[in-house]
Amino acid sequence: MRSEEHTLVEEELISKKDEPVNKSAEITNTPESITAEEHLIAEKPRCLDEDYEMVYHKPKTMVDVSMHYCPGCAHSLLHKLIMEAVDELGIQDKTIGVAPVGCAVFAYDYMNIDMTEAAHGRASATATGIKRLLPDSYVFTYQGDGDLAAIGIAETIHTINRGENIAIFFMNNAVYGMTSGQMAPTSLIGMKTTTSPYGRDVHEYGEPIKVSELISHLPGSFYVTRQAVNSATAVRKAKKAIMNAFKYQKLNKGTCFVEIIGNCPSNWKMTPLEASKFIDSEMIKVFPLGDIKLPKGEDLKLLEEVK
């Protein structure tokens, strides 16, 4: 029996939760005999040889478990970038995240910070409640396109219009990932989804909604940018945007909005590589990458301070 939201992702997750994660990582072999694959799932980051220098490991703001996301999914990367930013800025003890329903509903299993799981579409209202009472904390929401741009568009607009001093990380993968790939308000024209089997028809559903452009017109938005995570360069830029979104919160100047054009290979029915290419060839035609609203004038001076 498959319930509405019982996607492959969840099935996988359930089976994973049944058996202790990383069981296979209890490796008693000598380091030399560990295969590359085993090394990837090893419990603790470790060097194969004491002579090598550790150049990368998970930030301490990430819980060391394997994730439920599909291979090639943008969510895992975005989680990591946000948590790296929290780690590097040293604000773990001041950061509260809000993730609503969507594939990232289990974000609190991975992000080692205080978090609230919100109702579908309501993350920014929930975050408003937190930030108004803890004005010195760093609050962010982590929302999908169905969540933020369909059911929660009212909360999105009003939260930003009030200029709530939060960061909104907006994962735009142009589908409803969690519920198995239905059409989202951001699905491209002609895009085939489970609820637009003949392709999204502009006469029936209009054009994909460009939330970043829309909310950049609200005076309450302070910083609006659209990024991707489908290449090393893109990841580096996205990371910078995320860092900015946190840093600017200190200024109390309004909402920072970082849209990420994200890969959903499973529901796009593509391999991870094809999905990455699809972003470059199709998605960014509709959702061009880059900064949409940057602090200017007086605010630029303030920015120097937070740097």
Partner: protein, 349 residues
Amino acid sequence: MKGNEAMAEAAIQAGCDAYFGYPITPQSEVLEYLAKEMPKHGRVVLQAESEVASINMIYGAAGAGFRTMTSSSSPGISLMQEGISYIAGAELPCLIANVNRAGPGLGTIQPGQGDYFQATKGGGHGDYRLIVLAPSSVQEMADFVFLGFDLADKYRNPVMILSDGAIGQMMEKVTFGKFKPKKVDKPWATVGKPETRERNFITSLHIKSEDMEKHVEHIYRKYDEVKKNEVRYEEILTDDAEYLLAAYGLSARICHKAVNMLREKGIKAGLIRPITLFPFPEERINQLADKMKIILTVEMNTGQMVEDVRLSVNGKVPVHFFGRFGGMIPDPDEIVNKLENLINKNHAL
């Protein structure tokens, strides 16, 4: 002071850290009062873009460990139900006031008690209950704010004050100072994770059925405690009564008058007024039923609490119903007539 204002002032005195709300008649005075007064106390007050938003702001603020409150009237409370269900599922304390108007739909802004089922049987989706307090005076509108916050904190469950448009708008004398705000430690709150503890998260999600069943069981065990400790009711002239009126809130005030009128006619009538609608005073009503010939439930709806009265009485005596609805308020004369007719019919049998 108006009932709604008494509730608002009580919120301030009870240490409410934040109020989130959306205007709707007949309770807008709560938001208006707090919009003026809360900033003077350095507290948070915010007019949300909808009741959906306000209840989710409550969810965030309650999860961060603060005393929070919202209020609305029937259609607005309907909109909040998903959020209330999340709050109950995540076991967060908060206070929600419903100044009930008459429906269904847009209905009328006149008072009603049609939201009894919604308030006492959960209201939103899933298995949960609210602790429901039913004031019948302006003084109780104030007192139950203190009580409501304390019960919410004690049981980590949302508490609802279920009043109606008449009590919300009515002017009566109120005294404050009886209660002191209690502050409770909330080590589970999302305030930012220090090195010294594990992360806190607020969620109602338990994807594995075994876990979900355990969680619901845990919540229901809590409700057993609530039923054991928190049942509240008021009795009027029940000692020697043969005929029992059962009513809450505004209906109970009217029934009180009817009881006096019946007594003047030599009819031994009494009144039970449930103050907590959940937990319901079922044991007490069952005991009282032993001495009664007839029980008459009076409500401003088409018969909702009467079902709980019947369950409590469990067939011991006939339980009848009298209701006015659609914004109409029952007249004491009508209640007296209804009971007299029932008594006469009983004799005829």
